[in-house]
């Protein structure tokens, strides 16, 4: 005769197997495509900020190291990042609710953690580059 704890363990192991076996990812591919689109739009804005003369009275474009330019570039980058995150989360939660699954499951948590590490490393690297004025290299990364 099995004890109550055995029945509990049966149910636990069932639930555990179900979660472990499914590789459902709530993140949708469309959000990745849109993130790229935002990045290209941002690049277009960045180009105009750096390369196009700001007023009809400029006879040359401004140096990329000036602080106003840097602030504008940072705002563009931040806008792209925020737009991408909002789109990503929005599409993921719509897909998850349509399928009746949580957005935040083991798979998506693993994805975010595994992506954050190289993302942060790359971001810090780029900030260092910007700091030391290596804007040419920055442009290639963009």
């Amino acid at each position: 005769m099995e004890k109550n704890s055995d029945y509990q363990k049966d149910i636990e192991s069932i639930r555990h197997m179900m979660e472990k076996s499914v590789k459902f990812l709530s993140l949708s591919g469309l959000s990745g495509i849109l993130a790229g689109v935002y990045a290209m739009i941002g690049a277009g804005f960045a180009y105009s900020v750096v390369y196009l003369p700001q007023t009809p009275f400029d006879y040359a474009n401004q140096s990329a190291k000036e602080i106003t330019i840097i602030i504008r570039l940072m705002t563009i980058a931040l806008a792209v990042l925020i737009a991408s995150i909002i789109t990503g989360y929005g599409l993921a939660s719509r897909k998850a609710s349509k399928l009746g699954v949580k957005v935040w499951n083991t798979t998506s948590k693993r994805l975010v953690i595994n992506l954050l590490v190289p993302l942060l490393a790359g971001g810090i690297f780029l900030i260092f580059l910007a700091f030391y004025g290596y804007f040419v290299l920055l442009r290639l990364h963009f």
Binding site: N4, Y7, S13, I14, R15, M17, M18, K20, S21, V22
Partner: protein
């Protein structure tokens, strides 16, 4: 379906379209022979279906749960729930 391993196999198959032998083995952490025995028993009861094919010239066996298996699984879960509730009283 009283065996815990058989319950686990069916629970994997109800939340996935299909699952292959090696993936099941890795997931459940049991030996080839052990898994094969349980799968054979489940197939005899017509709770699962087998489809064998070749992937990259290697044999690949995939399993799916049948409607009969799904119903039996659900009944089993209900029974377990009842038993737990009973014993709590």
């Amino acid at each position: 379906m009283e065996h815990r391993v058989r319950l686990q196999i069916i629970s994997v198959l109800v939340v996935n379209d299909s699952y292959d032998f090696n993936a099941l083995k890795e997931l459940l952490d049991i030996t080839d022979g052990n898994l094969a025995t349980h799968l054979k028993a489940l197939e005899r009861e017509k709770y699962i279906s087998i489809s064998k094919s070749f992937v990259d010239r290697k044999p690949n066996t995939r399993y799916k749960v049948t409607e009969r298996g799904r119903t039996a699984f659900k009944k089993h879960l209900d029974a377990l729930e009842e038993l737990i509730k009973q014993q709590r009283k």
